[in-house]
């Protein structure tokens, strides 16, 4: 059980080498071993999407992956979005101005899902936006202000509208 396996992974541009139990979840590895607690865990069965990260650039659920699967891969978490000085990126700023978050627990997963979505679909319409976050659960907002935030980030809605 306690045989450890070596993991060599790049997270937010920094390279980490760690010895981990093969059964260690990637979400626990990020949160506990690396201290990157911005990635949240809401269901541990891959449904709620709070733990969404970018795995080699594509959205993935860190709670249903093992840390060892990340060996040799590139991961980005919510901590990578703002500038090192703390300035919000345009998507984060849009979430702030549109009241796109309430409790903030689903927000990291939303942001990572949408980061990849907007990269691939820079000019989405509302139904595409709703579709893109339809696998990320939010209990607070009713999604409407999140949709507005994405529209602001995509330039199809003025900030503060």
């Amino acid at each position: 059980m306690s045989t450890h396996v070596s993991v060599d992974v790049t997270v937010n541009g920094a390279r980490y080498r760690r010895e981990v139990e093969p059964r260690l979840l990637l979400s626990d590895f990020l949160r506990q071993d690396l201290g990157l607690t911005g990635t949240h865990v809401g269901c541990e069965h891959g449904v709620c999407g709070a733990c969404t990260i970018l795995f080699d650039g594509e959205p993935a659920r860190a709670c249903i992956m093992l840390a060892v699967q990340a060996d040799g891969h590139d991961i980005r978490t919510v901590e990578s979005l703002a500038s090192p000085g703390g300035d919000l990126n345009p998507l984060q700023a849009a979430f702030k101005s549109a009241h796109g978050l309430q409790c903030g627990f689903c927000t990291p997963g939303m942001l990572m899902t949408l980061t990849a979505f907007l990269r691939d679909n820079p000019n989405p319409d509302e139904s595409q936006i709703r579709d893109s976050i339809s696998a990320n659960l939010c209990r607070c907002t009713g999604y409407q202000h999140i949709v507005h935030a994405v529209q602001i980030a995509a330039g199809s809605r003025p900030p503060g509208d």
Partner: protein
Amino acid sequence: MLTGRAMFVDDVNLPGMLHVAFVRSMNAHGTLKSVDVEAARAHAGVVAVYTAEDLGDYSKPAPLLVNPPPIPGHVFHACTPLPLAKDKVRYVGEPIAMIVALSRYVAEDALADVVVDIDPIEAVVDLEAAMAPGAPLVHPHLESNAAAHVVQRKGDYATARAAADVLIKRRFLYDRGVAAAIENRAVAVEWNARAEEMTIWDTTQAPIPIRNGLAKMLGLLESQVRVVAPFVGGGFGPKIMMFYPEELLLPWAAMLLERPLKWTEDRQENFYATTQERGQVHESEMALSRDGRILGVRDWFLCDTGAYDPYGLTIPINTQCTLLGPYDIPNYDTEFTSVFTNKPIVTPVRGAGRQHGVFVSERLLDIAARELGIDRVEIRKRNLLGPDRFPHNHEIMFQDSAPLVYDSGDYLPTLEQAADLIGYERFIREDQPRLRAEGRKVGVGIACYVEGTGIGPYEGARVTVEPSGTVRVATGVGTQGQGHFTVLAQIVADALGVGVEDVRVVTGDTREFHWGTGTFASRGAVVAGSACHAAATSVRGKILDLASVVLGVPADRLELGGGRVKIAGAADNGIAFGYLAGRANPLRGAVRPGTEPGLESTAYFGPDRGSTASGVHAMIVEVDPETANVKIQRYLVVHDCGTIINPLLVEGQIHGGVAHGIGNAFFESLVYDGQAQLLNASFMDYLLPTATDVPSIETAHRETPSPFNVLGLKGVGEAGCIPTGAVFAQAVEDALGADPRIEIREIPMSPNRLFELIEEARKS
């Protein structure tokens, strides 16, 4: 929160921290014969295992949180749980043993080593079966499974009934589900044995009562215990439930082991171990005159309270009171029996029983309208309380032990505006006939509600101007994303004359502020907001007094703005608040008699009773005739929560509430089998509404200020989800052609269930 730096409870990691997992009952009902933990104790990496026996004197029933209101003749049997089950288990998920280990992984490994011997007893599942003679008893010391019985009466229903032209009598079922905050519950504890100080990070909506209660139970001074509710990932009710077993046991074990401990609930546990809200069965009758005026209502219902009833009667009394809605109902007989079952404990979830009451009265009105041939909007108009009827005393008692008195309201314009904005007349006259001719099943629904909000007992706030000029606000209410930071900052900024960005709000940390109750009943902005306003107003007075001395002019010649005070009309900028804050706290020189150091005040607000918000929801739906799937084409909310502090935040609260209501109406259902095993304890099987299920919600604001607080505030946190089931049922019925054979008398109404109703009607 946007950068990933905000701290939630599970983010607390301390050196030497141990991790906890719980052995939980797999049986809903049974005799607990033995718990063998020897193998678990021997498991490598396990530090301790505790059962009820190991707790000694600490094994006591949890306190009753809310005493029943003093309604004459009421019966209430308080049955609260032990931290760890002893002798008997009463629901699946009830904690039996606690395992402390080096990691959560090891703690969960050791769960399998615990041998629990339970002799099963037939489970009490269905409410009516629970009350049948000979039913197995959840609490054998009682004569039946009745947890409570309450009758409230207003006027004389029997006489009203005798005088009625029409009686509408129906049976209704209204079920609810889990709160499903995306963050599960968590508790982290650090006991500093040298300083004899305890810090508890807790996903609670009520950090101050948790601190006070734990201090008492642990034999510590309140000042030795600090409870922090940091960022909390959604509350919606169950996080107000106090003294969950995990909250009681981790601090106790941390003192014993002198190690920091953490437990974080997983999603499956959340379906069992966190409280939820469930069903009621109503037998209801409305007596009306031929012209559609309500002469009276009689309502009798059973209410599921689960295995224990620590939260008293809040839910069923909310149901009783909210059933009256915005209507003039002169005669009202209402009676309920709260029922113990072998299911998880029921405590308020957003709406807290109000949905059930609104569903009953709105459905009765819809059926009456159909039978009397009166339009649905018209029958409501005829029964609304007019603006000259406030304050309106309904002559029954509300959950806060105060008489149910509506403070203010302006209901008719709200209904008219909603009907106008949804295009009710045009839809009925033009759109619907045209679309029906094309074979499409479209319908409109419109329903009214009120919500008692902002109840006592009280909240407090401390406002401090720091020498830097920053204004610090501390209050006791926890926050779970409602926007308290923004709203409270706005109130203080406006009262003092500083920018919102210069106000820093701290909530939910007992070290910062330790008087208050918590966040529930849509009361944060109303009660804590009023306290902030009072404290800021007091600080404003201190600023004026001191500035008057410094500038040598009477206070009434001074004006405040931009964080500065100046002589009215003077050309200069005056003096900064920060400078005055320094002057008010000198290193030398005495404080003048009758003054206090600093520019700081603490104030409290305790309303005698709550303020009543109101609104109207309307929706247009289309039902797929083959699949019975319902598509919401439009959803409109016209609401009145008194003075609006921040429209964007109000809309956020409404959107979230409506989404929750849509889930309740259509998707969310806790499915228990005949032995009270929950069959859908995951987000795979318990469906929360997603971004493609919730439509864009149109909102319109009206403002009828409350006379019960200076700012005229009413709460808004729960309003969005209260009438959703009622308006959904009405709209779907209308879409199906207002066919008297299809009456929706139950919620949730899944596509499957709706399909069945349509088929039954077709065959009849």
